[in-house]
Symmetry: C2
Subunit: 247 residues, 2 copies
């Protein structure tokens, strides 16, 4: 499994992903699942992926090949992540790419225990349009985050959902949202072996049309350890201070 989550806020979007992939617990590897495309001043696009790594890497490669073709052949009319004029069109392009990979690999995968499974969080900003955030399914269709539910999760999402359900708010500052996502990851990592450090964190500030706030949080990162320990202590204190049932 994998865990990725993102929150759309009034002030921008925060993305986070883990780096663990596994084919069984005896076959664990580290892969980056956050892909970033940027054309400063024009657009920023971020893709997080969960599911079958071969599918998500193929999607990434095909999207990049189209960009390369467009850059080297000025007569190319192929739609690319750098030519579409809205996030909605960009999400459609990613969805169409998932279907393209499914055409090739779907039949064999669906006949295996693995199945054809990949899901994506995709967001960013193009020109004057406000930032937008989508979740794209294995079938290539997608939904968009709204005010009511500002966060999206893919992969091993259940352990880290209660904290998001209780605290997430689109009015948060970007730093607060980053902290919240890290706590959601901490809960997940403590309870599930298939999600693991390091984490990739990317903060997109609205209307910046570029990215300069991203980092990898390694195992034993002092900030992350402090956050995790303080959180455990706060939970235990909160637990002790609430009264017991009279039964």
């Amino acid at each position: 499994m994998t865990y990725c989550a993102a929150m759309k806020l009034d002030r921008g979007i925060v993305f986070a992903s883990d780096t663990r992939t596994n084919a069984g617990v005896d076959n664990i590897a580290k892969f980056r699942k956050t892909y970033l495309w940027r054309n400063p001043g024009d657009r920023v696009l971020v893709l997080l992926s969960a599911g079958n790594l071969s599918v998500s890497q193929s999607v990434h490669s095909i999207l990049n090949e189209a960009l390369h073709e467009s850059a080297t052949n000025s007569e190319s009319e192929k739609e690319t992540l750098f030519t579409v004029n809205s996030l909605f069109r960009a999400a459609r392009l990613v969805g169409a790419t998932v279907r393209e990979v499914r055409d090739v690999d779907g039949p064999m995968l669906e006949n295996s225990d693995t199945g054809f499974y990949a899901s994506f969080i995709f967001g960013g900003q193009i020109g004057d349009e406000p930032p937008r955030l989508f979740q794209i399914y294995s079938e290539g269709n997608f939904i968009e985050a709204t005010e009511d539910t500002p966060f999206l999760q893919i992969g091993e999402h259940k352990y880290g959902k209660p904290i998001l359900d209780r605290v997430a708010d689109p009015k948060m500052r970007l730093g607060e949202a980053a902290k919240l996502l890290l706590l959601s990851f901490d809960s997940t990592i403590r309870s599930n072996l298939s999600v693991g450090m390091p984490l990739d964190l990317l903060i997109y500030e609205r209307d910046k049309l570029d990215v300069n706030r991203q980092m990898r949080i390694e195992e034993n990162d002092p900030y992350f350890n402090e956050l995790s320990e303080n959180w455990s202590e706060a939970l235990r204190n909160a637990f002790s201070s609430s009264r017991e049932l009279d039964i």
Copy 2:
């Protein structure tokens, strides 16, 4: 789905289950999933069930029929929950009963989308033996809770696991453990529609060989609401007080 959890402590065992069953979100019903057998002074046995309701009800009925047969026919040599001389043997009897149901209903269920799925938490105390707690699978095999992992969960277990992972300790008092299980249920109910109130809570005190602490916690129970609200506030306070990442 369903959510059931139990904790084995030095001082006894606490059991909790929700009451929601559903066949799709448009077909929700309320069923008790905690079954209790007691022979005061001799034994207390508690069974919590998740999965296919027809399977768990059949298991319950077969176990009761054997008790009835044994009670009305003094020559019956059939092993029952009241004749086995250890919790391990009792768990084997439940496992064998699951297999008996599988023989009848398994083939048809396995050929449907539903599948044959039922899992159980089973615990209590028989005579001088210390209290024991088991998790019984659809296949009839089972595992036992130990000092290292004093809690067991079945059904929709992921949302409520982080709090148990952080706080559970076999040295807790029974009332503390009940509070912890209720918080685990609160997190699950907030995040997942397939788990719902009311809840059934049962506290077994070691060496009591009877049960006098059990209750149903209804929707809008004042204690549960207070616990849930205080917990949310404590989480939000803990969230605000931990520092943000410098990124």
